[in-house]
Symmetry: C2
Subunit: 308 residues, 2 copies
């Protein structure tokens, strides 16, 4: 196998209550990447379509992640990367993570899988460090593992795969404004009240129990963020209205996807998720901001091969 | 049925990472209570053995909890309570909760179960309010439900029963010093760093996943408290040494039971839990403080009937 074409998914990090620890993978939105073995050592990005992103290896998240992997192995050849970038950078649905995770997953396949998923998370985190200044794992982990993931700890890195209820769907509204993750981190307070922190970890517990029990109501009740959402949501036009309209349309709950501006809602069943999309659309139709809406089942598999 | 004798268990609240939300019930330590229907309306505590506690209904946590229940129902008769109080007050293993939960559970049985478990938690929380100044539920919930419980939310009250891995045992060292819950709350800071809060809810997620997966290692890795333990442990003689010795003896992990002074450790299997008890003993044998040690399977059933 000298060449592999993959789909690498968009992801929703935080999932309301699980700031910096929870994430989940999407199914109908993601990038396509082609990775090719070449005789020349190193990593070369030969083509990027869809978005205006740097081709220089050291300035591109995929390039940096690939180099992090190759630094751990003696490799007599190199790789070329082509990216069909469908997830817009700064959308809040894991654009940099899809590139970072995709490239290391594909190279690992081409090398005969010398690395495990945790290793790959670590390499892809270097791409995240370039993109946001912080080597976070809450997007790259679900992209690589699929489904819901929990980053229990960073030191040591400890990633837990959580079960995904079979009828769970996400609806995502992406307002076409850009919020840089670094900026969205900047406005957060470095301390939180103990009372709110207790409520937050109660909800993390409830959400995880809900995933195991396939208890959709419990999942919905647990989708409450007392700490981050009240601050970040002011950056997102009509956030409260969109969220309320989602719930009115039947969603279990929702919140900010990653660091925004995308807003997500979770629903039981595709039919409801589509109604939630209509509800979100009805709000943004009245606002002079372009937007996209996605509806997706939760992707249990993560990255997948399209062609090799 | 005019009279019921019950066992009402000791409980471990917080369980390291889950301050104010997690709790679990013990099996080999608890109080016995006798509740008797009597023609005279109201609640009368006729006997308390084992501990020096007030017999006046309004000053006794069992009395107050019973009154909270009776306030919600039209009852033509009353109740007498006898308490064989084996859990010492101020031990950190849910002494007040055992009395509060026990009495409302027993009265509900004698009345033909008009109330559900959530109602009973609410009544028993009034006993906790009398004992500690705060109507917390993290001890009364596991006493009433059995096993591990999560108090996801107080408003509205939302209690989730979690699974209990079958080989999970607790070892508890109870130094015979008293720490009042109210005092142990006083020394806590009202704010916490966001970074530590994130680590804490990562561990809450890990612990709950570990309970579902029966992943004992994950349970152990998640038993870390970055927020409360560093502050409260200074009140407990040789806390760090006992904890380290527990882990050296094979425990998965441990921490402060409730607000202390009891120290708990969780182990896989009774044999290890007994070794952990030896380890704890070896530390306290060198200290001039009386202590008790308990080893218990996690009690999946909660309160149980001894005789009726």
């Amino acid at each position: 196998m000298n060449e592999i074409k993959i789909f690498t998914p968009a992801t929703i990090a935080n999932v309301s209550c699980g700031f910096d620890v929870l994430g989940m993978a999407l199914d109908t939105i993601g990038d396509e990447m082609l990775i090719r073995k070449v005789p020349e050592k190193g990593v070369k990005i030969t083509k990027i379509i869809g978005q205006n992103l740097p081709l220089e290896t050291h300035k591109n998240v995929a390039g940096v992640s690939a180099l992090a992997l190759l630094a751990q192995i003696d490799c007599e050849f190199g790789f070329e990367i082509e990216i069909d970038k469908r997830i817009k950078p700064g959308s809040g649905i894991g654009s940099s993570a899809a590139s970072s995770a995709g490239v290391v997953w594909a190279i690992n396949e081409l090398l005969g899988k010398p690395f495990n998923s945790s290793d790959l998370v670590r390499f892809a985190m270097e791409g995240e460090r370039l993109a946001t200044g912080v080597a976070h794992a809450d997007n790259v982990a679900p992209a690589l593992f699929g489904g819901f993931t929990l980053v229990r700890s960073y030191e040591p890195l400890d990633i837990i795969s959580l079960p995904t209820p079979k009828d769970l769907y996400a609806t995502i509204l992406h307002p076409q404004i850009e919020i840089k993750t670094a900026d969205a981190r900047e406005i957060l307070k470095t301390t939180v009240s103990l009372k709110k922190a207790i409520k937050q970890w109660g909800n993390v517990g409830g959400l995880i129990s809900g995933l195991y029990e396939e208890d959709y109501d419990l999942i919905g009740r647990s989708l409450e963020d007392f700490i981050i959402e009240p601050i970040r949501s002011i950056l997102i036009p009509a956030f409260d209205t969109v969220k309320q309209q989602s719930i009115n349309s039947g969603a279990l709950g929702g919140g900010i996807s990653g660091s925004g501006p995308s807003i997500f809602a979770l629903s039981k069943g595709e039919e409801t998720a589509l109604k939630v999309a209509d509800g979100m659309r009805s709000v943004y139709e009245k606002i002079d901001i372009d937007y996209e809406i996605h509806v997706s089942k939760i992707n249990k598999k993560g990255i997948r091969i399209l062609k090799y």
